[in-house]
């Protein structure tokens, strides 16, 4: 009886391990399709929605606070700072999300398919780490000192994010049609790109 139980347990464990391997490989296949599309979308979102100087300048504008302060109401000042902090934190969160997509892209696709040199890849890895660290530091700064206290940290975050965008675009440009076809095609045989 005991050997039978042992065999059944081993069989069940092997079956679960097989299920795990199958699930992981199908996830991997999906990831092979999505990161490229996600990365293109991330670059577009970053360039058009999150990094334009005018918008960043407006969100962290000191002149707006000076105007609100001149109104002489503490309640309005508090409302203003709370609102700006909310928008600023939302901005940091969106940057982190898009940079996460680009990092996935570089992990899954670019290393295998692009013609980037090791040096560029290393620089990019450093930039990713620096940016995610900067985002976390910025979150803390925004929380502790308010939305108007970190213009340099904001500037640095924008600069690194812009660099990552440029490098990602470069990686995407290196992808040749054969590697794109290998990664999968969209409906009607159209390339995913």
């Amino acid at each position: 009886m005991i050997p039978l139980i042992i065999y059944l347990t081993i069989g069940a464990l092997l079956f679960l391990a097989l299920l795990y391997v199958v699930a992981r490989s199908s996830n991997g296949e999906r990831a092979g399709n999505d990161p490229l599309r996600e990365a293109r979308q991330a670059v577009q979102t970053l360039e058009s929605g999150l990094l334009p100087r005018e918008l960043i300048g407006r969100i962290f504008a000191r002149e707006d606070f000076d105007y609100v302060a001149s109104c002489g109401s503490e309640e309005i000042c508090r409302t203003f700072l709370r609102e700006r902090q909310r928008v600023a934190r939302s901005w940091v969160g969106m940057i982190e999300k898009q940079i996460g997509s680009l990092r996935r892209f570089h992990r899954v696709v670019a290393r295998q398919h692009s013609g980037l040199s090791m040096r560029t890849e290393a620089g990019l890895a450093f930039d990713f780490a620096a940016l995610l660290l900067a985002c976390r530091a910025l979150r803390v700064l925004l929380y502790v000192r308010g939305p108007l206290a970190a213009p340099r940290a904001v500037g640095a975050t924008v600069a690194v994010a812009t660099r990552i965008c440029e490098a990602s675009k470069q990686s995407m440009a290196f992808l040749n049609p054969a590697s794109i076809a290998a990664m999968g095609t969209g409906p009607g045989g159209a390339p995913v790109l």
Binding site: S73, E83, R84
Partner: protein, 151 residues
């Protein structure tokens, strides 16, 4: 019609709209509201009979959408002080009681439906947040005994 010809037609229509209509509306807030009102909320398409007659339905629709995005961007870049002044001027133009206006705008937030389609969420969030603060400033001005905010 090629894409280039279509685009040229849209640009001509937009120029016509700017010259004939939008030049008469000096404030970007008023332009934003006017252009949003040209949009059918069921389809998301813009309608302007005069413009469609001179150009085409499609060109008129795209020209209105272009100008709407332009007005939105302009308002987004407007400092808070200027936004307060624009809302104040808009209240005067509508001849509504300022108190009723502020109450309705705080409650209904009609500016939320005035943003162009495909506006990124951060930009709209930022504009809505500015509206919220601007309305608070205007409301404070109406309360007796409040310090007079820069008028």
């Amino acid at each position: 019609m090629t894409w280039r010809t279509k685009r040229e037609n849209v640009e001509r229509a937009a120029e016509d709209l700017r010259r004939r209509t939008l030049s008469e509306i000096p404030r970007s807030l008023d332009r934003l509201i006017y252009l949003a009102s040209m949009r059918d909320y069921n389809t998301g398409l813009y309608c302007h009979d005069g413009l469609a007659e001179r150009f085409s339905q499609e060109a008129a629709c795209e020209a209105l959408a272009d100008c709407h995005r332009e007005a939105f961007r302009e308002l987004l870049g407007t400092p808070l002080e200027e936004l307060v002044a624009q809302i104040e001027a808009y209240v005067r133009a509508t001849r509504t009681s300022p108190f009723d206006f502020i109450t309705a705008w705080k409650k209904l937030e009609p500016y939320r439906v005035a943003v162009p389609v495909q506006t990124d969420s951060l930009s709209s969030e930022f504009l809505f947040s500015n509206f919220k603060v601007a309305l608070a400033i205007l409301e404070a001005r109406l309360r007796p005994g409040q310090p007079a905010a820069a008028a």
